[in-house]
């Protein structure tokens, strides 16, 4: 419990700091800490697979992607906070309040009688290791029960990756000429 509170406090301070910092590079760096904290939070919430993804993608790849974006654009300019966006603050506060109000209707964390835990989840938990032979239930759900769905996602991501590579590849070739 106290771990939850400390982690949330860390997340909040980091988020506020990222929004206040004026150096883009510093923001990218602190964002790495934010990802680390996020992933620790996922571990605390028992979502181990999500934590794995966040550790690899959030901390590793996205920091490097942002760095390459910075190095491609060559942007080392400091941002200046000129305007005071009161309207935006009000809008986000309102949205946050609405979301908080919405969560009050949701079942509690790890509630065994929640609708999501009554439908097919018990079946997966009991049968999947015999049917598929993979010890991790999440993997067998993703790769077997929802295999077509995952295949579609992979195709989309693959296409996006090819698009990005073709865009970036062109610029580097032009630079070499």
């Amino acid at each position: 419990m106290i771990v939850n509170i400390i982690l949330l406090a860390f997340l909040l301070t980091t988020a506020v700091y990222i929004s206040r910092i004026t150096i883009l590079f510093g923001a990218v760096m602190i964002y790495g800490i934010y990802s680390l904290l996020c992933a620790t939070m996922f571990v605390v919430l028992d979502a181990v697979d999500v934590a794995f993804t966040e550790a690899a993608v959030g901390t590793g790849i996205s920091t490097i992607l942002m760095l390459s974006a910075l190095s491609l654009t060559g942007s080392r300019i400091e941002i200046t906070h000129k305007r005071k966006p009161i309207m935006a603050l009000c809008a986000s506060l309102g949205l946050g309040a609405a979301l908080l109000w919405g969560t009050s209707d949701m079942p509690h964390f790890a509630d065994a009688s929640a609708p999501a835990n009554l439908h097919v989840a018990p079946y997966y938990l009991e049968e999947s290791s015999e049917q598929i032979g993979i010890p991790n239930v999440v993997t067998s759900v993703l790769a077997s029960y929802r295999g077509y769905d995952t295949l579609g996602e992979v195709v989309v991501i693959f296409t996006a990756g090819i698009g990005v590579i073709s865009l970036l590849g062109r610029t580097t070739r032009r630079r070499e000429d």
């Binding site: 771990v3 590079f25 510093g26 620790t40 571990v43 934590a51 920091t63 490097i64």
Partner: protein
């Protein structure tokens, strides 16, 4: 005792966050973040033991790997200004 150690490491994280926020140079931030990552590895390992599920150690391992790669990538960006650089030509010839 494990829980107490967990809390102690988290207090250490607070100190490092302070260093990451006040800087003053960019390298201080990178240093603080690198050390923060190491502390996250410790926290994950300890947390697995507090909740009596030490299987979570795999994540700690991935963290240790990512932490190292990110630090090296960031420093490479700083040294050469380009992540695709092979490190064979000196800095001045690129830009």
């Amino acid at each position: 005792m494990i829980a107490a150690t967990l809390i102690a490491v988290m207090i250490g994280m607070v100190l490092l966050l302070a260093r990451a926020f006040i800087g003053p140079t960019i390298f201080d931030r990178i240093l603080a973040i690198n050390n923060f990552g190491t502390k996250t590895v410790i926290v994950l390992a300890l947390y697995g033991f507090v909740t009596e599920r030490p299987d979570f150690l795999d994540i700690a391992l991935v963290y240790a790997l990512c932490n190292f790669i990110v630090t090296i990538a960031v420093l490479k960006y700083f040294e050469y200004g380009d992540l695709g650089h092979t490190g064979k030509q000196p800095k001045d010839e690129i830009s």
